[in-house]
C-alpha cells in the first residue's frame, strides 16, 4: 500500500504558522529570565557591543555574587524579539531600548517598573545625566527607564575624497543637494547611500525634510494625535521633495534591498561608491572600525542637515535618539531588580565606559564631559555631535520610536512604498491619517 498523504498531514502543515502565533499567546506566565543573577539584552555589532559588554564585565568582576548575564541581538530582529519576550513574560531583567512609544506600551501593560521614586531617592544618579535625556524615558510624568549610553543625532556624512575628485563642494541647502545629484551620477557615483530595506533609514530623510520645511510642529501634531495631521501642506511638500530626489536618482541603485544591519550602507560611503549618507551619529564608530583609513585619513566629512529653501524650520533642529534606555522588567524577582539598580548606580556610564564611548566617537549623556570630549582622539567629531545635540532648538525623537508600535509599523510600511514611488504623497498622508492616535 502506498503511503497515504492524509488530511492530517496537510492540516498540520497548514497550521504550522498559526502555531507560532498561538504559542506566544499561551506563554503569558513564567519567571523573567530564570534563577540566579540578572539578565540583560542589548544590540550587537561593533563597536557598541564591546562597550556594553565591557561595562557588564567590570560590574560582574566587582560584584561576583550578583552577576549579570547578557545576550545580544541585531537591531531589527531585536525590536520584534524584545516585544515578544515581554509579552510572553520572558523579558530579561534589564531591557535595553529607545524609550518613547515602545516604552509607553510596556509601561501601560505594567511590564516595566516605575523608577520615579528610585530616582528621587538616588539624586546622584539622576543629576549626573543630561536632563533632556529623560524625555523619552518619561511617560505621563513618571520615569520608566534609566537613560544610558550616548546622545545620537542624525547627521549628514560625506566622503571628502569623492567630493574632491568630482570637484564639488558639500551642500549648503536642499537646492545644492538637488544640483549635486546629476554631477555625481555623471561620474557613476551614487549621490547618497541608503540601506532602504531597513525602512527607518528612509524615515530619517523625512524627519529632516518635515522639520526643515514646516518646523518641528508638523510631526508634533501627529504625535499629539491631531486629526489629518499628515495632510499639512508642509508635509505634502516634504513628501513631494523626497520623491523628487528619488526620481532624480539621488540614492544608490538598489537601495531598497540594502539593509542597515549589514552595514552595507556604511561600506558604500567609505568605499567611495556613494558620496553622502544621512545616518545616526553611531555611524562614526562603524566607519572608523570598518572603513580602514577612511576616518583616520581625514576623508570623512559631516554636517547637520542643510536648510530647505523657503522652509520655516529652525536649521539647528535635529532628530535622533536623545539617549538609550534601560528599563527593569516588572516580572523580574526582587533580587534581580536589586542587581539591576546596583548596575544602574555603579555600572552604567562608569569612567571606563564613558572613555570607551568617546573613543568610539560617541557623546555620553553625561553632564560636564566637554573637557574629555575635546581631548579625545575623535575631538572634532564628538565636539560636533555635542554642539548639534546641545544647540538644537528641538531635538526630536526618531518617529518610529516616538509613535506606538502600531502606528510606527504603518508609517514604516508606507515610507517604503513612498520611496518605491508606488504611492503618491497624498496617498501616503491618507494612509497615515488613518492610524493617527492609534
Amino acid at each position: 500500500m502506498a503511503t497515504p498523504i492524509s488530511r492530517r498531514t496537510v492540516l498540520g502543515l497548514a497550521a504550522g504558522v498559526p502555531l507560532s502565533l498561538a504559542f506566544s499567546a499561551c506563554g503569558t506566565s513564567g519567571p523573567g529570565g530564570g534563577g540566579g543573577g540578572a539578565t540583560y539584552w542589548f544590540l550587537s555589532g561593533p563597536p557598541q557591543e564591546g562597550i556594553r559588554q565591557g561595562a557588564v564585565d567590570r560590574f560582574n568582576k566587582a560584584n561576583p555574587d550578583t552577576k549579570i548575564t547578557t545576550s545580544t541581538f541585531l537591531n531589527d530582529p531585536y525590536k520584534t524579539k524584545i516585544k515578544t519576550a515581554i509579552g510572553a513574560g520572558q523579558a530579561p531583567t534589564i531591557i535595553w531600548g529607545w524609550g518613547g512609544g515602545g516604552l509607553r506600551t510596556w509601561a501601560k501593560a505594567g511590564q516595566v517598573d516605575d523608577l520615579t521614586s528610585w530616582f528621587d531617592q538616588n539624586p546622584k544618579v539622576k543629576d549626573k545625566l543630561i536632563p533632556s535625556s529623560f524625555g523619552p524615558a518619561t511617560i505621563d510624568g513618571k520615569i520608566y527607564a534609566m537613560p544610558c549610553e550616548t546622545v545620537e543625532p542624525i547627521v549628514l556624512y560625506y566622503n571628502k575624497k569623492v567630493f574632491d575628485d568630482v570637484g564639488v563642494e558639500p551642500p549648503q541647502s536642499w537646492d545644492d543637494i538637488m544640483a549635486l545629484v546629476p554631477k555625481f551620477n555623471a561620474k557613476n557615483i551614487a549621490p547618497f547611500s541608503l540601506g532602504g530595506q531597513s525602512r527607518w533609514t528612509n524615515m530619517m530623510w523625512l524627519e529632516f525634510l518635515f522639520d526643515r520645511i514646516g518646523g518641528s510642529e508638523v510631526f508634533q501634531a501627529v504625535f499629539d494625535g491631531e486629526k489629518d495631521a499628515w495632510s499639512n501642506p508642509a508635509a505634502i511638500t516634504a513628501l513631494t521633495k523626497m520623491q523628487d530626489l528619488i526620481k532624480a536618482k539621488g540614492f544608490i541603485e538598489g537601495f531598497s534591498s540594502i539593509t542597515a544591519d549589514s552595514n552595507a550602507d556604511q561600506a558604500l560611503l567609505y568605499t567611495g561608491k556613494a558620496a553622502m549618507m544621512l545616518h545616526g551619529s553611531w555611524s562614526y564608530g562603524i566607519l572608523k572600525e570598518q572603513g580602514g583609513d577612511f576616518v583616520s585619513g581625514g576623508s570623512l566629512g559631516y554636517m547637520n542637515f542643510p536648510p530647505v529653501e523657503g522652509g520655516t524650520g529652525d536649521p539647528s533642529d535635529t532628530v535622533g535618539n536623545p539617549g538609550q534606555y534601560l528599563a527593569i522588567s516588572s516580572k523580574a524577582s526582587a533580587e534581580q531588580k536589586d542587581i539591576a539598580k546596583k548596575f544602574f548606580t555603579s555600572g552604567v556610564l562608569d569612567d571606563t565606559e564613558v572613555k570607551d564611548w568617546i573613543d568610539s566617537g560617541g557623546v555620553p549623556i553625561l553632564k560636564g564631559t566637554q573637557a574629555e570630549l575635546e581631548s579625545s582622539q575623535n575631538a572634532d567629531f564628538v565636539s560636533f555631535i555635542y554642539d548639534v545635540a546641545s544647540k538644537a532648538k528641538v531635538f526630536a525623537q526618531s518617529w518610529d520610536q516616538a509613535l506606538s508600535p502600531t502606528a510606527a509599523e504603518t508609517l514604516l510600511d508606507n515610507i517604503v512604498k513612498l520611496f518605491q514611488l508606488s504611492i503618491s504623497p497624498q496617498q501616503f498622508a491618507d494612509n497615515l491619517n488613518a492610524v493617527i492616535g492609534k
Binding site: M1, A2, P4, I5, S6, R7, R8, V10, L11, G12, L13, A14, A15, G16, V17, P18, L19, L21, A22, F23, S24, A25, C26, K79, T80, K83, T84, I86, G87, T105, W106, K108, A109, G110, Q111, G196, Q197, I252, E253, G254, F255, S256, S257, I258, A264, A267, L268, K273, S404, P405, T406, A408, E409, T410, D413, V416, K417, Q420, S422
Partner: protein
C-alpha cells in the same frame, strides 16, 4: 484491496491498532488543534501582545477584510504557490527519473543534489542575499554585469528570486519522492514498451509520467501546503519587499502581530491561512480521484 488486508483491518478495530495512532493524535491536538482554537478565539479580541486581552467582537475581522493588503497578500501567496509548483514539478520529475537509474555516477550525483535540503532556510536566504548584493555581491566581485542586478530591489526580480530560491531548496526533496516513485514502476512495463519499439522519450511520456500520477499528487500537495507557510526564507531574503512585492500571507500575519502589535487581526489572518490551506488540500484530493491514496502497482 485484497482479502488479507481487509481482514487485518477488521481485527485491528478490536486490537492494538487504534492505539498506535494515539501519540500522533496527542501531538496533533496539542500542537495544532488547541492553538488553532486559541487563534480563532484571539481573532475576536483586541490584544497588543502585552496587556490584557479585550474581547472586541468582529472588529479585527472587519479591519482585516477591509485592508487592501489582504487580497494583495493572498494574490502573492497564490502566485508564489503556482510559480514554485510550475518550476519545481517538471524539474523534480526529470531529476527524480534521472536519479532512479542504478548507475554509480547517478548515486554520487544524488548525494550532491540533496545538499540544499540539509541547509536551513535562514542560512540559504542570508547566503543568497550576500551573493546577490548589487554592490558587494558576486556580480560586483567577479565583474559580471549580468549578476549585478538589483535582484531584491525590483518587484518582479525579487519575486522571481524568491521562487528560484524556494525551488533550489525544495527540488531535491521532491526529486527524492519522484525517485522512489519511478523505482516502483514495474520493469516489465518498460520491457514491453521496448519490444513495441518505444524510445526513451516515448517511454517517459507513456509509462513513467502516467505511472507517477499519484506521486505527482502527493508531491504537489506538499508543495502547495508548504508554500502557504513560506515565511523564514522570504522574511530573511526580502522581508516581504520591495514594498509589498513578496509579502505573502504568512508574512502579513507576522508583521501585523509582532511588528504592529495587532494580535487580533493577525489571528484573523492566521484563520484565513488555515482555511485556505484546508480548501487547497481538499481540492487536491478531489483532483486525484477517490482512491488517490491507493496504489495501482501490481502486487503492491
Amino acid at each position: 484491496m485484497t482479502a488479507p488486508a481487509a481482514h487485518a483491518r477488521r481485527r485491528g478495530r478490536h486490537g492494538v491498532l487504534p492505539w498506535l495512532v494515539a501519540p500522533a493524535l496527542v501531538f496533533f491536538v496539542g500542537f495544532a488543534v488547541i492553538p488553532l482554537i486559541g487563534v480563532f478565539l484571539l481573532s475576536f479580541t483586541t490584544w497588543d501582545g502585552l496587556g490584557a486581552i479585550q474581547p472586541s467582537g468582529v472588529d479585527s475581522w472587519r479591519a482585516v477584510l477591509a485592508d487592501p493588503g489582504l487580497p494583495h497578500a493572498i494574490w502573492i501567496t497564490f502566485l508564489v504557490m503556482l510559480a514554485s509548483w510550475a518550476v519545481q514539478t517538471p524539474l523534480s520529475i526529470l531529476l527524480g527519473t534521472f536519479l532512479a537509474g542504478n548507475q554509480r555516477y547517478r548515486a554520487a550525483l544524488a548525494v550532491v543534489y540533496v545538499i540544499p535540503l540539509l541547509l536551513s532556510s535562514a542560512a540559504i536566504a542570508i547566503t543568497y542575499k550576500a551573493l546577490l548584493d548589487p554592490n558587494f555581491g558576486l556580480g560586483a566581485g567577479l565583474g559580471i554585469e549580468f549578476l549585478s542586478q538589483d535582484w531584491l530591489g525590483r518587484p518582479a526580480l525579487a519575486f522571481s528570486l524568491v521562487v528560484f530560491v524556494v525551488s533550489w531548496q525544495f527540488i531535491p526533496f521532491h526529486s527524492l519522492i519522484y525517485q522512489g516513485g519511478v523505482r516502483q514502476i514495474p520493469q516489465s512495463l518498460y520491457e514491453a514498451a521496448a519490444i513495441d519499439g518505444a524510445g526513451r522519450v516515448r517511454q517517459f511520456f507513456s509509462i513513467t509520467l502516467p505511472q507517477l500520477k499519484y506521486t505527482i499528487i502527493t508531491s504537489s500537495t506538499l508543495m502547495v501546503a508548504g508554500s502557504l507557510t513560506f515565511f523564514d526564507l522570504i522574511f530573511v531574503l526580502t522581508e516581504g519587499g520591495p514594498g509589498d512585492a513578496t509579502r505573502v500571507l504568512a508574512l502579513e500575519m507576522y508583521k501585523e502581530g509582532f511588528q504592529a502589535n495587532l494580535m487580533g487581526p493577525a489571528s484573523a489572518i492566521a484563520v484565513i491561512l488555515v482555511l485556505v490551506g484546508l480548501a487547497l488540500a481538499l481540492l487536491l484530493r478531489r483532483l486525484g480521484g477517490k482512491d488517490a491514496t491507493q496504489s495501482q502497482f501490481e502486487g503492491a
